[in-house]
């Protein structure tokens, strides 16, 4: 289980990077084993059958977030999350806007928003738009306290995308991690994955965190040092060391999710 700590007003990234002298050696062997376990598990689910289109799995599917019934609430939540994710990019790039809501909207719009979310934003009435602005401003305040421009040597990347094919292309894993801190291919494990959520930390955020750690390991063939979720709703930080047990659990959760959704 991730340890939950209340974020101090110091730098979030500095706290997560920890003491570089205590880092374990980089684990380059686990990724291949995880791939083998995943492929075996997928074969047991699919029995070698294919699909007309690949089954796309993201963190929402693993956490159950994709099954939310109230579509208006889900869209509002996604809009809020998307705007806060843009603020993460701006803060880490060293830009501190006076009006974070306006800046987040501008950054989101130029970044090529999905047609669905852009349409949802356009049809918001004045009340909903004001509520969204107030909401995002509150989350921005929480974020601004802990997120500062990172030193260049930390190799911080924002909105890091993953798109992996499994099972001969029948499964696509897609993921976006808000922040990846550290150089991936060093002698010691030094990469920290940071997910920023506008929801309180709970079971769902833990499962998402494991999914992020798994997709990162599969993509880079190296296990990250640590994965963490920062909640802008509560100011809490959930952090855990990434080890084989965590990744093994992520694999089982992923296979359960695929098994529940698989149709030939």
């Amino acid at each position: 289980m991730p340890s939950v700590i209340l974020a101090s007003p110091t730098s979030l990234l500095e706290a997560l990077r920890g003491d570089p002298s205590r880092r374990p050696p980089r684990d380059r062997a686990t990724a291949a084993g995880l791939r083998a376990v995943l492929e075996d598990g997928l074969f047991e689910i699919s029995h070698g059958q294919t699909r007309p289109a690949p089954l796309v799995i993201g963190p929402d599917h693993v956490t159950g977030g994709a099954d939310v019934v109230d579509i208006n609430r889900a869209t509002y939540g996604r809009l809020r999350g998307t705007l806060v994710a843009q603020l993460v990019r701006l803060y880490v790039a060293g830009y501190r806007p006076r009006d974070p809501v306006d800046a987040a909207v501008r950054a989101w719009q130029i970044d090529g928003p999905s047609a669905e979310l852009a349409a949802a934003f356009t049809v918001l009435d004045d009340d909903s738009r004001s509520r969204l602005a107030t909401d995002v401003a509150a989350h921005a305040g929480s974020l601004a306290q802990v997120l500062r421009e990172a030193p260049a040597g930390w190799a911080v990347r924002s909105a890091v995308r993953t798109r992996l094919r499994l099972g001969g292309g029948t499964i696509v894993l897609r993921d976006v991690v808000d922040l990846v801190v550290g150089v991936e291919h060093q002698a010691t494990a030094s990469v920290v994955l940071v997910d920023v959520t506008t929801a309180p930390i709970g079971e769902r955020t833990d499962a998402a965190l494991r999914f992020h750690a798994l997709t990162h390991t599969l993509r880079t063939s190296a296990t990250p040092l640590r994965a963490a979720t920062f909640s802008t709703a509560t100011g809490e930080l959930a952090s855990c060391e990434v080890d084989y047990a965590l990744l093994d659990r992520a694999v089982r959760e992923l296979l359960d999710t695929i098994g529940a959704r698989w149709t030939p």
Binding site: Q86, A93, D111, G112, R157, A222
Partner: protein, 265 residues
């Protein structure tokens, strides 16, 4: 035609892959004339530009181009890495310097209305911050991936272009890292490799070879997809060049058919 090499992407894997076989393939004037004759046979009333993407998408017309953080990041990132090699203190500073220079050029009227500089000059600070972040992220990834490459390599100044003589055709090869004078070319793309990533790489190989002054093919052409954690590579053999040229000509044929259908409608 030699097989495609597909590997998990790590700096070590990339460094090993750029070391191609010790073969030298050179295209001569006879090859250039033959290629031009093939393209001239596919008559066109407008100028056509062919590249890996057009081969992979079977000549489908691309969506109208517009600048965005995603379309600007590669150019800014490559420029930032070149600045890093010549003394900039960090990638982020390299990106900032490049943006400042482009904006200054646009302000002095030295760039066209549709140029990256003009687009950047019209952005507000929040939009510019996203562009900076996207470019710095791309450059950081590229710098890390190339960190294990041994020997002489540099970030490409531009893509390679080859105008096919009297055929109203320009071939473009996407290139990001050039290893040695003729050892390997690495190109980096977002997303994941498509089923026709191989033909796309062959098209790049053809354009890069014909665009080089001495007609020598790079020993390896390497496509890198960091989002998918994969690299795909092929050898610069004459077989691959022939296959790539055939794909490009086929794409020109399909493109022409599309144009004719569209004009008829």
């Amino acid at each position: 035609m030699s097989a495609l090499i597909v590997r998990r992407l790590t700096p070590t894997a990339l460094a090993e892959t750029v070391l191609g076989p010790e073969v030298e393939t050179v295209v001569t004037n006879a090859h250039r004339n033959t290629l031009a004759a093939r393209f001239r046979a596919v008559a066109t009333d407008r100028h056509r530009r062919l590249d890996a993407w057009s081969v992979e998408s079977a000549g489908r017309p691309p969506a109208p181009f517009r600048w965005s953080p995603v379309t600007a990041r590669r150019r800014l990132a490559n420029a930032a890495l070149r600045r890093l090699a010549t003394g900039a203190r960090s990638i982020r500073l390299g990106v900032d310097l490049e943006i400042a220079e482009l904006v200054a050029c646009a302000a002095e009227g030295r760039l066209g209305a549709g140029s990256l500089g003009a687009w950047l000059a019209a952005r507000d600070p929040a939009e510019l911050a996203v562009v900076r972040a996207a470019a710095a992220d791309w450059a950081t990834t590229l710098a890390e991936l190339s960190s294990a490459i041994q020997g002489d390599w540099h970030v490409a100044r531009a893509d390679a272009y080859y105008d096919v003589e009297r055929a109203r055709t320009t071939l473009r090869a996407r290139q990001d890292i050039i290893v040695g004078p003729h050892e390997a070319v690495v190109r980096v793309r977002g997303g994941e490799p498509s089923a026709s990533a191989g033909p796309g790489l062959r098209a790049d190989l053809v354009a890069a070879t014909f665009a080089s002054d001495d007609g020598r093919a790079p020993r390896r052409y390497v496509g890198v997809w960091p989002d998918a954690g994969l690299l795909v590579a092929l050898d610069g053999t004459m077989d691959n060049l022939r296959a790539g040229a055939r794909d490009l000509v086929r794409t020109a044929v399909v493109q022409r058919q599309r144009w004719l259908r569209r004009d008829a409608a």
